[in-house]
């Protein structure tokens, strides 16, 4: 990328020529002025922060020697306006740190040390190993019920990582691994927000945060639940405070009083794992008091659609439960259809309507029952319900406090039900804001560094989908087009209608198998996983139940880690208690990765704002950007397979893979955007995508990122904001098609008139005969008015085109095909969110004692490693999360002294009552143990957690940060030795927010 295109690099001195007299100021004699301002001769470049997904703009300052001398927030940025939290503000340390990996390093089997090797040696070792493992473990076919399926797969190779790297890198890792036949492609999103995508998709049709950081300012009520936003998404505080300045009421529901609670008007302390009961009571209160938005429900949701008589719910189980399989027959959760296969629309009071089914379902969630389960006083629940009812539009902010549960998906589904009822989706200041937690985790999700998707949320082909038509049966003709375009991007001219666009070459996962990251280490433990490549992820700190991760790593044949610093994972073989290098045969290669300040490319924040990072610094030592490493690996593999005539290796010949070494990121971004192959022009948007193979796009939701032949992510107009809603349509670019607030059609009534003229966003312009407004209208076609079917599809990415309160099975018919047009996503554990206790719970499930935890759960998966603790041995509930000053595994932050002085080491927060019982004072050491492991940490005794009354019994919650491990400048025991890896049946996300532990005073 030529930086000069945007004259981005400039000296700060430019503009300093302005005369002081011009401002009429008499500047006092300032010593700095005499000596010269620190930044006067520095080069300036913009980047984007590398922590949570606020996507804050940064400016780096580089002196003549190429050294970073300063870094601060970009004051011309729409999200942070110059601000940075403690972590972001410290990042000038990274390019200058002594701890950086400078050269590739190799650890031989049984060795206790690293040996430096060259890049050539490293890449040769890696690709030789990949080839050998791939060739030895190739699965060409599989048989199920006597039918043979081509599957083109290798389950002995795993790739992990993506949330820390750029979109272009994620795209290439997905492209390369799928060419290799890899199924085990995973990254941190699995562990943090994997439950978000299915939950939001089941309700809305898309899995992303609905509104934007800036849009928080438009809310009149903000419910922050399962998020410590002020600490872990610090820049959100700016927008929360702006809403508050306009009178918004802020509610924080959390197991602890945190720095977020300090900013809130109401704080409710909730028992971890009981959010569905709390939200169920809010929903029931809205229903009972008939405080719902009737017009919104009728116009924009499936509330008045009729449910099939086969649907049922009894004693904790929905219709269709198979006890043996721990799974439902989801066909039982359907609509009553008319002759054309469309749902029958009735009224909100029809006994079979979604609305009436919902009222019946929720009536069990009265305030007192919810109070008994959650520990929140009934009056407080009522008060919160009334705040949400009386202050609309209201928004929701949530993060891992909701996602990391065995009911993670249904936790979030509860938000969707509440917000639909209140008419709080699609409007400014409304929505459900899933606060994504890594710098590019939205991108790594978009580009499907996850086993179950292909780029653009296309289902990964499984063994029963041998042809594109078979795939289309389950995904719809609407999405088939995008799959064709993806294959065109990956195989270029070689993908033709005649060869099913090379779809048959793609690996087919086994539809019965789980390839999530948890299974990567479990498969390694079973000696089935041989080779694992990890970039920018540190599972030996961030994965749950770490003993299984360590044991799995010890059984691998080769581990490759690409990271700017040594990570715990890369050093898992190093001598420490319980680990003897001489018994570990794993070969380990540590590749020096460039830091985010040393490479270019795009990343996308939680509000889907795609932004460009410039490379203002050269990588330190021999470090390389991941994109270069991936490209070099693929080229080496292609060389090694050049002479092969085997069918499985033809992908290397057919692959469309050719990127200029001096301009990889830009070139890949163009491929992602896509081309019209008849004209050679870059696509201008999703509307230009064709089904016939004449266009390509590497990720259809990004089509238009290079509209008009210009890289839209470089746009920097931070001033233009029509409507003053914080949209800034000319600043960078959002998917899809620069729409900022998703489902904004729902901000208007049936006729396309804004519900609230004072808070309007988009509308139907009858004179111009088109949808228009301050944001790009989220409609199928801008000229299809309210009197057309397309004009009544506020949730156009769901099969019904409506918001789904009832998340039932639905195949939308395609008038021109026997295949469905689109298929609505259905969660595996119920069409309505039901409350279940965590796997390790301190109490019984008072709603249905016999179905205590999620009935679709399958746990333990591995005997001996996955014990379930009981209340009598482990009486306290442990909740875990992060501190503001350290981030995720701490690989960056624990190598920054300025952050280590703010939070020095790991600890456990406990209420005074427990401390008194244990005889523990502030700062004393305590032993914390669970059924899976134990750690010794220091105590923080606080009033910010108090004991709760749960179902009549006193219940104690303790909390620990998970950011520590045995490497880095600040090192300490990893909390994840204690946590449980039981997972939500939809996405396997682990229950790190609620497990049982015991706490005792440790010896001196």
């Amino acid at each position: 990328m030529e930086v000069s295109r945007r004259t981005l690099l400039k000296t700060t001195a430019a503009g300093a020529g302005l005369s002081l007299a011009g401002f009429g100021f008499n500047i006092p004699s300032v010593k700095a002025a005499v000596n010269g301002f620190k930044l006067d001769d520095a080069n300036e470049y913009t980047s984007i922060c590398t922590f949570c997904a606020c996507g804050c703009g940064m400016v780096g300052y580089v002196n003549k020697d190429g050294k970073m001398i300063n870094l601060e927030g970009n004051s011309d940025h729409i999200v942070n306006e110059g601000g940075l939290c403690s972590k972001g503000a410290s990042m000038s340390v990274i390019p200058n740190s002594d701890g950086r990996n400078l050269k590739p390093k190799y650890r031989a089997p049984k060795s206790d040390k690293w040996v430096e090797i060259t890049w050539d040696e490293a890449l040769d070792k890696i690709t030789s190993k990949i080839k050998q493992v791939r060739d030895d473990n190739w699965i060409a076919q599989e048989v199920e019920n006597g039918v043979t399926y081509n599957v083109n797969r290798c389950d002995a190779i795993g790739f992990v990582g993506g949330a820390q790297v750029h979109n272009e890198e994620c795209y290439l890792i997905a492209k390369m691994t799928r060419m290799l036949g890899v199924s085990f492609l995973e990254h941190q999103a699995r562990l943090c927000h994997s439950s978000t995508v299915p939950a939001l998709t089941a309700a809305f049709g898309r899995g992303a945060m609905t509104n934007t950081w800036q849009d928080l300012k438009n809310a009149k009520a903000i419910l922050i639940e399962g998020s410590n936003a002020a600490e872990n998404h610090p820049m959100s505080a700016k927008w929360i405070m702006r809403a508050k300045a306009q009178g918004a009421v802020v509610i924080h529901v959390d197991p602890r009083y945190t720095r977020t609670s300090k900013l809130a008007d109401i704080h409710a302390q909730i028992r971890p794992g009981t959010d569905i009961a709390f939200l169920g009571a809010i929903i029931n209160y809205i229903l009972e008091t008939e405080s719902y938005d009737k017009d919104y429900l009728l116009t924009h949701t499936n509330a008045a659609l009729l449910v099939s008589p086969e649907y049922d719910f009894n004693d904790g189980l929905f219709a269709g439960y198979d006890e043996e399989k721990h799974a439902y027959n989801k066909k039982k959760w359907a609509y009553q259809l008319d002759g054309s296969g469309k749902p029958i629309v009735a009224t909100l009071t029809h006994p079979d309507s979604v609305m009436m089914k919902m009222r019946e379902f929720y009536k069990r969630y009265d305030l007192q029952t919810a109070s008994n389960i959650t520990g929140i006083p009934a009056d407080d629940i009522k008060k919160i319900a009334e705040v949400m009812i009386n202050n609309r539009p209201g928004t929701v902010m949530y993060a891992l406090g909701m996602t990391q549960h065995t009911v993670g998906v249904q936790n979030i589904r509860s938000f969707t039900v509440m917000q639909f009822l209140l008419g709080n989706v699609g409007k400014p200041g409304s929505g459900i804001n899933a606060l994504r937690g890594e710098p590019n985790v939205q991108g790594s999700t978009d580009f499907a560094v996850l086993f179950n998707y292909f780029p653009g949320y296309l289902n990964t082909p499984n063994h029963r989908q041998q042809t594109l038509d078979e795939w289309t049966k389950d995904s719809g003709t609407f999405r088939r087009k995008f799959m064709v375009n993806l294959m065109k991007s990956w195989f270029g001219e070689n993908a033709t209608a005649e060869n099913d666009f090379c779809y048959p070459l793609m690996p087919k996962i086994n539809a019965n198998k789980n390839y999530s990251i948890y299974r990567i280490f479990e498969t390694a433990l079973e000696k089935e996983m041989k080779f694992l490549y990890i970039m920018g992820q540190n599972p030996l700190v961030t994965s749950p139940n770490l003993n299984i991760v360590q044991a799995g790593l010890e059984k691998l044949e080769m581990l490759v880690v690409a990271d700017p610093f040594e990570t715990e994972t890369s050093c898992f073989w190093q001598k420490r208690e319980g680990v003897d290098p001489s018994t570990i045969d794993t070969e380990v290669i540590l590749l020096p990765a460039a830091s985010f300040l040393e490479k270019e490319g795009t990343l996308i924040n939680s509000s889907r704002l795609v932004q460009w990072r410039y490379a203002g610094l050269k990588p330190v030592g021999e470090a390389k950007p991941d994109i270069e490493i991936i490209d070099l690996m693929f080229q080496k593999l292609r060389e090694k397979y050049a002479s092969s005539t085997e069918a499985k290796d033809q992908v290397f010949k057919l692959a469309n893979w050719n990127y200029p070494a001096d301009n990889r990121s830009d070139s890949v971004l163009r491929e992602i955007n896509g081309y019209n192959h008849k004209t050679g022009a870059l696509l201008n948007g999703i509307g230009e995508i064709q089904a016939d193979g004449s266009t390509s796009t590497g990720c259809w939701v990004y089509a238009g990122v290079y509209a008009n032949g210009e890289n839209q992510t470089l746009r920097d107009d931070y001033k233009t904001d029509p409507g003053e809603l914080g949209i800034f349509p000319k600043f960078a670019w959002t998917w899809p098609g620069n729409i900022h607030i998703l489902y904004n059609r729902a901000s208007c009534d049936k006729n396309g008139k804004p519900y609230d003229e004072k808070n309007k966003l988009i509308w139907w312009d009858e004179n111009a005969k088109k949808w228009t407004g301050y944001d790009i209208p989220d409609v199928p076609a801008a000229t299809d008015g309210p009197n057309t079917a397309n004009g009544q599809k506020p949730f156009r990415m769901s099969g019904e085109g409506l918001g789904r309160l009832f998340g039932g099975t639905y195949y939308d018919p395609d008038a021109t095909s026997t295949l469905p047009r689109d298929v609505s996503y259905v969660t595996s554990d119920g069409p309505f969110p039901e409350f279940y206790e965590p796997v390790e719970s301190p109490t019984k499930n008072i709603l249905h004692e016999n179905v205590a935890s999620n009935p679709c759960l399958i746990y333990p998966r591995v005997k001996g490693f996955q014990e379930i603790g009981d209340k009598k041995d482990f009486p306290y509930v442990l909740c875990t999360s992060a501190v503001s000053e350290h981030w995720c595994s701490g690989t960056y932050t624990r190598n920054v002294p300025w952050l280590n002085e703010l939070v020095k080491e790991t600890f456990i927060e406990m209420p005074h009552k427990l401390a008194e019982k244990l005889g523990v004072k502030n700062g004393d050491k305590v032993k914390v143990n669970s059924a899976r492991g134990e750690v010794v940490v220091k105590a923080m005794v606080t009033n910010r957690i108090h004991t709760l009354n749960i179902n009549g019994e006193e219940t104690t919650v303790v909390w620990m940060p998970y950011n520590w491990g045995f490497k880095g400048l600040s090192h300490a025991a990893s909390t994840n030795l204690l946590t449980i890896d039981a997972g939500d049946p939809n996405t396997w996300i682990q229950e790190t927010k609620a497990c049982l532990v015991n706490v005792t005073k440790a010896g001196a």
């Binding site: 503009g15 300093a16 302005l18 002081l20 401002f23 100021f25 008499n26 500047i27 006092p28 300032v30 010593k31 700095a32 002025a33 301002f37 620190k38 300063n70 601060e72 927030g73 004051s75 011309d76 306006e81 110059g82 601000g83 940075l84 939290c85 403690s86 972001g88 503000a89 002020a230 600490e231 610090p234 820049m235 505080a237 700016k238 405070m241 720095r259 977020t260 609670s261 300090k262 900013l263 503001s884 000053e885 002294p897 300025w898 952050l899 280590n900 002085e901 703010l902 939070v903 020095k904 600890f907 004072k921 502030n922 700062g923 220091k938 923080m940 606080t942 009033n943 910010r944 108090h946």
Partner: protein, 274 residues
């Protein structure tokens, strides 16, 4: 006329994210000062020659409910600055901008400023034997004014604030905002008050101002800040006649201070932060 500037910490909005703490160290190139974990979130008990600003974090129980109060503690840049008054070499100086600046070249490390500061802010660096404290990023402030109040050049801490809690601008603007915020806060907090804003208190207001929901003592600040008793002489001698006399008064003590330093009578021997 010189532009008088000020910083305002709107305490109710502070989330204690501590971006300000790091931004300060980054801009000033100050080393980390890692103290032992003592069971508290607050990073350091006090300011030091390595730490010019910190967030005080105080947890209390009021009517069975927990309350967590934060305050950004740093140099107050007092209207009448005890440190400058008592500085024998004029190293510390109240500038027309409102900043109390510190000229390291003039500083002899006598430590009088430590004794004379109402708030215990300056600390003599045991290694360099120079006094240290926040100078409100006066180099940045010069650029800020030079570039037409460009927020890009705000003091590092104010610029980095995530929650709109640290505001910076002309003193006039900040006083206006402080008074507006006070009106809002009063509805919820009967004790809400402005601190270091008004120029009729004994330290005549400062360039570091606060809007406080609760009494100053809640945040570890003196409810009624007074010039240090050690400055009693100066206060009485100097104040009635105004700033003109300060210079003469300082000359009078300079001799004594220098003698003090030469004879090793300075308070700080270099071990105060170990």
């Amino acid at each position: 006329m010189a532009v008088e500037i000020a910083m305002l910490h709107d305490v109710e909005k502070c989330s204690a994210c501590r971006g300000c703490s790091v931004a300060c160290k980054q801009w000033k190139n100050l080393p980390a000062d890692i103290t032992p974990f003592d069971g508290e979130y607050q990073s350091h008990k006090d300011l030091s020659s390595k730490t010019y600003t910190l967030i005080r974090m105080k947890e209390t129980m009021v009517n069975d409910k927990v309350r967590w109060d934060f305050l950004k503690f740093q140099c107050m840049h007092c209207g009448i600055a005890g440190c400058a008054l008592g500085c024998p070499t004029k190293a510390l100086k109240k500038e027309e901008t409102g900043i109390v600046s510190h000229d390291k070249d003039l500083c002899i490390g006598c430590g009088y400023c430590e004794i004379n500061c109402t708030f215990g802010v300056p600390h003599v660096d045991p290694e360099t034997k120079k006094s240290t404290k926040c100078n409100l990023c006066e180099d940045r402030v010069a650029k800020y004014i030079e570039n037409g109040n460009d927020r890009k050049y705000m003091p590092a801490c104010a610029k980095t604030c995530t929650a709109d809690a640290i505001l910076f601008g002309t003193r006039e603007e900040m006083v206006k905002i402080a008074n507006e915020r006070l009106e809002v806060l009063k509805a919820k907090y009967p004790d809400a008050n402005l601190y270091n804003v008004n120029t009729d208190d004994s330290i005549k207001g400062g360039a570091m101002m606060y809007v406080l929901p609760y009494k100053p003592s809640v945040y570890g600040l003196p409810d009624e800040p007074q010039l240090a008793p050690s400055l009693g002489v100066w206060k009485n001698a100097v104040q009635p006649a105004g700033k003109v006399l300060i210079g003469a008064a300082v000359v009078a003590v300079a001799g004594a201070a220098i003698v003090n330093t030469i004879t090793g009578g300075g308070k700080h021997g270099g071990d105060d932060h170990e």
